[in-house]
Symmetry: C2
Subunit: 227 residues, 2 copies
DNA sequence: GTCTATATCCCGATAGAC
DNA sequence: GTCTATCGGGATATAGAC
């Protein structure tokens, strides 16, 4: 572990790790688009050419940040779903954690969706994402499998997975976009809303996978057991 | 209407309008972050300083594009909800149109969410958005008002509105991010999924506005009428 | 309203010395 | 593994002429 403020040059420490840290710091201040290798180098007191000893180019460094992002999200997720048995509850917990992650680790979240990284050129990213999507899809499959009413269950699994993913991501993006990403109360509100919306989608999952006529020929109605 | 390819300079035509068109074109090719006034000028065959006669700076041009985006989205929306009476169906139609808009007018959609425009400095944007959010919120209020089971209905309206907004936006973003934004079938699939997810949220709206204990202490269950 | 010219600043990436 | 030096590129914005 190098000491960024020691006054010395980085002739020794772990510049690679320091660059990742500094990148995250910088992205937090100016956004992904405002990040540059040159600025990171300046901040670390090294030459602008130094990073190229550890990363082939700018995107390569950002890819390393993306990997860290998925690792951290997974680490934050685990304790949350550990005690939950019901797939629906696990999904809600995952969605809640996702929104919290977006707000509390905004730079990492940003890298995942705004860096414009070519995942084909950086397979490490998808590899780091894998365990996460596996955990997510396991829950979804468990739910669509035990629904006797649905059509082909694979289809409905896709529909449900997409709906939950979209809802969680949407809540996260809207929260950050609203500028309330630093307000703890606002974050918790958004996180809880996301969890409940997830449960609502699960409860109404039989509405998701339809051939669909005019969609609302009558009206789906406030669902049984409402009034 | 000027003729961009006429060979002449823009000593006469409507450069302001041409700049907006070119901006959209350019954003379609390189994304918002890849857009520059310089490149737009080059493409129109005018000096790089010419745009400053019509826009105070780069963001000012992008703001004009954002206004057009909201105008077009509204125009596309109107016919879709015109014939629908039920608020739930109108919401589903709005959500569906939103996703279609994101895919078929990607540059416009991108400007709204990735340009990083300061809405305080460009009030025109919010003004253009207003009629749209009004139409949306009217539907939501109609739904949360006539629900006898809910708590304070204003609260639940907020929850439902946020959930639907997040779901629609999330579907749109995921669709574009997947790279299937040009594939008509993929777009329609996403749009229909969004519409159905919206209906599912409406049907399960009584699950959204809870004080919420441990959220899934027991499990909300697959909803009545499921098995 | 547009042009020419210019000032100013930033970036990514490479070559070659140490 | 890091530094110095540099090339080549692009951007925003302004000044002053026409």
């Amino acid at each position: 572990m190098p000491r960024p403020g020691k006054g010395g040059r980085y002739h020794h420490g772990d510049l690679r790790a320091a660059l990742i840290d500094t990148a995250i710091e910088l992205i937090g201040e100016r956004g992904v688009r405002g990040f540059s290798l040159a600025e990171a180098s300046r901040r670390l007191g090294v030459a602008v050419s130094a990073p190229y000893a550890h990363f082939t180019d700018r995107d390569d460094l950002l890819a390393a940040v993306a990997v860290r992002a998925y690792e951290q999200l997974l680490a934050e997720l685990m304790p949350d779903i550990g005690g939950l048995q019901e797939p629906a509850d696990r999904l809600a917990a995952i969605a809640r954690a996702y929104v919290r992650f977006a707000a509390t680790s905004r730079p990492l979240f940003e890298v995942l969706y705004e860096a414009g990284l070519d995942k084909a050129r950086h397979p490490e990213i998808e590899a780091a994402e894998r365990p996460l999507s596996d955990a997510f899809l396991d829950c979804v499959r468990a739910l669509s499998g035990d629904d006797p009413a649905g059509g082909s269950s694979g289809e409905m699994a896709d529909d449900l997975a997409t709906a939950i993913e979209a809802t969680a991501h949407g809540h996260a993006v809207l929260l950050l976009d609203s500028g309330s990403g630093q307000d703890t109360d606002a974050v918790e509100l958004a996180a809880e809303r996301t969890a409940r919306a997830t449960l609502a989608l699960v409860a109404g999952r039989h509405l998701l996978g339809r051939p669909a006529g005019p969609v609302g020929a009558k009206t789906p109605g406030p669902s049984p057991g409402d009034a």
